[in-house]
């Protein structure tokens, strides 16, 4: 992407930082991923902090990865998207999704990137 973008990962427990650590070991991160756990912080505080970062950094596009569609992290993501419509909320985050994001974020356009990381995340779920 040529525009300025920010990326956030909001999950239950310590999943956000663990997922980020694993993904960043597999591939050198090309952009910062801000991690949030909903364990301690209220949804209101997480939302406030992310909105502030978006304003400070003057991000044109925002990607918010969350673990569980329908969980409190999903609600936070959707509230942020409501305030900042140039955001995409992606539920069901997994390692292939984050790896794909790091590989492709500076290579593809916004829509292509979103489609690619969703496809790669789904490809990473296999039943044999």
């Amino acid at each position: 992407m040529k525009c300025k973008f920010l990326t956030f990962l909001i999950t239950h427990g310590n999943l956000a930082s663990s997922l980020a650590n694993v993904s960043e070991k597999l591939i050198m991160p090309t952009t910062k991923l801000y991690c949030y756990s909903n364990q301690r912080w209220s949804s209101e505080e997480i939302e406030k902090d992310i909105i502030q970062k978006i304003k400070e950094e003057q991000a044109e596009k925002v990607i918010i990865f969350v673990d569980l569609v329908g969980g409190s992290c999903w609600i936070i993501g959707n509230r942020i998207k409501h305030i900042n419509p140039e955001s995409a909320v992606i539920g069901g985050v997994n390692v292939p999704m984050l790896v794909s994001f790091f590989v492709n974020c500076n290579r593809l356009d916004w829509n292509e990137l979103l489609e690619k990381i969703i496809t790669d995340a789904q490809k990473g779920i296999v039943l044999r």
Partner: protein, 162 residues
Amino acid sequence: MEIQLFRIDDRLIHGQVVIGWASHLNSDTIILCDDSVAENDWEKELYLSIVPESLAARVIPVGELARELKESKNNFCKTIVLVSSPFTVETLLKKGVELNNINIGGIHFKEGRKEYLPYLYLSKEEVNAFHRLMQRGIKFFCQDVPTAKQIPLEKVLEKRTA
């Protein structure tokens, strides 16, 4: 009026409620009682969109819940009622509702709140509100998910003060 689960949870409808409690209790309805959510169509829609099809769900203001509970027309024995704070409980009592047993599922950290449990952070005003409610005979038990241990609120508050 018997309610299956009356829960204080600042996250209102979320995974712990729809996956955890509703499955565990075999509930058929969730009522989210909150004035600010009830008056915001977008937010109301967001909360209702995450409820599985197996459950009926409604978002109603505090006054409406008070009216329904006093009229006793509906049966709440398979219903989970969610509010976000003890102040809503106080409002319901002022409106003449009787409540006996309340689950505290989560009030999370923000500035001005102290930690009581990993999922329970309270401000002075909230602690005072809980004390007032307990003096009126309401029993509170802290339990975020069905598999967790129930802890009486008075023990949690005593331990933090000691």
